[in-house]
Amino acid sequence: MAEQMPAMRPPLTAPPVRPEYMRDIVTGPQMGVVEAPLTVWQRLASQGWLRKALILLAIATAWEVYARGLDNPLLVPTLSATLAALSSGLVSGEILERMTNSVQLLLKGYALGVALALFLASLAMMSRLGNDLLETLTSAFNPLPAIALLPLALIWFGFGDRSIVFVLVHSVLWAVALNTHAGFGSVSQTLRMVGRNYGLRGPRLIAKILIPAAFPSILSGLKIGWAFAWRTLIAAELVFGVSSGSGGLGWYIFENKNTLDIPAVFAGLFTVIVIGLIVENLIFRNVEAVTVRRWGMQS
């Protein structure tokens, strides 16, 4: 067998010997295209907002066509009727007032929840006990729907903003704390060592190294927390609308449903969606652009 092997292989070949050569490289105008501007169409197609606007336009058209065909404003009012209700609500100032109420309450709860989450996550970084505390609390409370706490909150804090803020904090706190904690955990060992090398420790290390380094995770936690808070707020207003004094958007939807003013219900929902889009596409996107994208931590 061993003797047969060489015979089965093709004969050993050597590569042909070729002459060496040197060349002058081409420079200047004779080279042709090195860099050319894109066509208008290519540039338009690369705009994310334009593609998304087209999708929204398609949905709006489908809605209008379907609602006109159905012809039942009590089930599905047309887009034009919804927009009319929205503009009359805006002109009378009612929607704006309700919106302000909702957003004010939301910001209070959100800010408080985020501050508490950062505090808990920092505590978890500084001591093992803090870590255990955070892990136990998040695993216990994260699955608990915030709205389920509202009856209890009403007993503790009475009818008013404070009980809504309480459930908002609950809805924000655990999601943000969990993401922040995970983000802190994934900060590279090298960066931590760099921070300690220059004399940072404890709260200064967290503020100057961990928070910026974990910012992509923190930001996604902030986004999730914002969505949770917004949902919780509208739901809380729908169920216990009167609890927050003058009432917010959820209560506006509920009131108009009771009077069967369905286009106004749609206008209320529309406002909720628009605020969501604005926060996502204007606020969070710009925060991303000046932070994680600029730093090359997210493409």
Binding site: S188, T190, L191, M193, V194, G195, R196, N197, Y198, G199, L200, R204, K208, I209, P212, A213, F215, T291, R294, W295, G296, M297
Partner: protein, 269 residues
């Protein structure tokens, strides 16, 4: 022991005696470094050379104050090393040692400000002085992710030098670079040393790099690391008049002598 051990002349800057370093994994207590002693003097380019896994990076971490020795002492300027501090500045192998959310200039200033060494205009001027030294003035306002690997390491070196530390700790700083860039960086480092005469403790597993960069090379045996010897180098890889062999070849023989013996044993067995 000190008085008999210490050579005549200046006192060592870094004094390491009988240091054993151990770390815990999930199941084992591992000894990475066993009873290592050496002295580093001012303006030394002191190289710790050994194969991968000989604990040389662990030893550097102990000098940095990131881990305490199981036995032995580490002293800097006569004072025991207890914790990380800005008098011993690290340059790591990893490119992510730069803070991605700060520009080149801000990265250097961050070091000066965090350590409370300088602030405001003074920090900025110091930062720019050293950024110019590593030829990155044009990129002072760039973010790290826009720079090449070699440029990132130059920023890290500028940041460390701007601190004007007692000793610079370099942990295979050029290992992640391509061969051409590495060669250039080694020469630039020597150039910088000629200008400022810093003291550096340099970890590498490359014999040519050790011979080129170091004026004194400490050879470590593999796992656990023990001292096999200290050699002088003038960077030219000279031929030893007695043995007729190049310095790098002598180092190679010393480091891999064990392995050759192992091969012999296997061969005969």
């Amino acid at each position: 022991m000190h008085s008999t051990d210490a050579p005549q002349g200046p006192a060592p800057l870094l004094h390491v005696r009988g240091v054993t370093l151990q770390y815990k994994t999930e199941q084992h207590l591992v000894t990475a470094i066993y009873r290592v002693s050496f002295d580093v003097y001012g303006a030394d380019r002191f190289v710790l050379l050994g194969p991968s896994g000989c604990g040389k990076s662990t030893l550097l971490k102990a000098v940095g104050g990131y881990m305490a020795p199981a036995e032995g002492t580490l002293r800097l300027k006569g004072l025991p090393i207890r914790e990380p501090g800005a008098d011993r500045v690290f340059v790591f192998q990893e490119f992510d040692q730069l803070l991605p959310w700060k520009t080149v200039k801000q990265n250097v200033m961050f070091a000066l400000q965090s350590s409370r060494k300088m602030r405001g205009k003074a920090a900025e001027a110091q930062a720019m002085r050293y950024i110019e030294k590593v030829n990155l003035a044009k990129f002072a306002n760039s973010y790290p992710h826009t720079l090449s690997g070699g440029m990132k390491q130059r920023v890290a070196i500028a940041r460390a030098l701007a601190m004007e530390p007692d000793i610079l700790l370099m942990d295979e700083p050029f290992a992640a670079l391509d061969a051409l860039t590495r060669r250039k960086m080694q020469e630039e480092l020597l150039q910088l040393w000629a200008e400022t005469r810093f003291t550096v403790l340099f970890v590498t597993h490359s014999i040519p790099e050790a011979v080129l960069v170091g004026n004194r090379v400490l050879l470590l045996s593999p796992h656990p690391g023990q001292v096999k010897g200290e050699l002088n180098s003038d960077g030219s890889d000279p031929v030893d008049p007695v043995t007729g062999r190049k310095l790098s070849d002598r180092i190679h023989d010393m480091l891999f002598a064990d392995r050759a013996e192992e091969r012999e044993v296997v061969h005969h067995g």
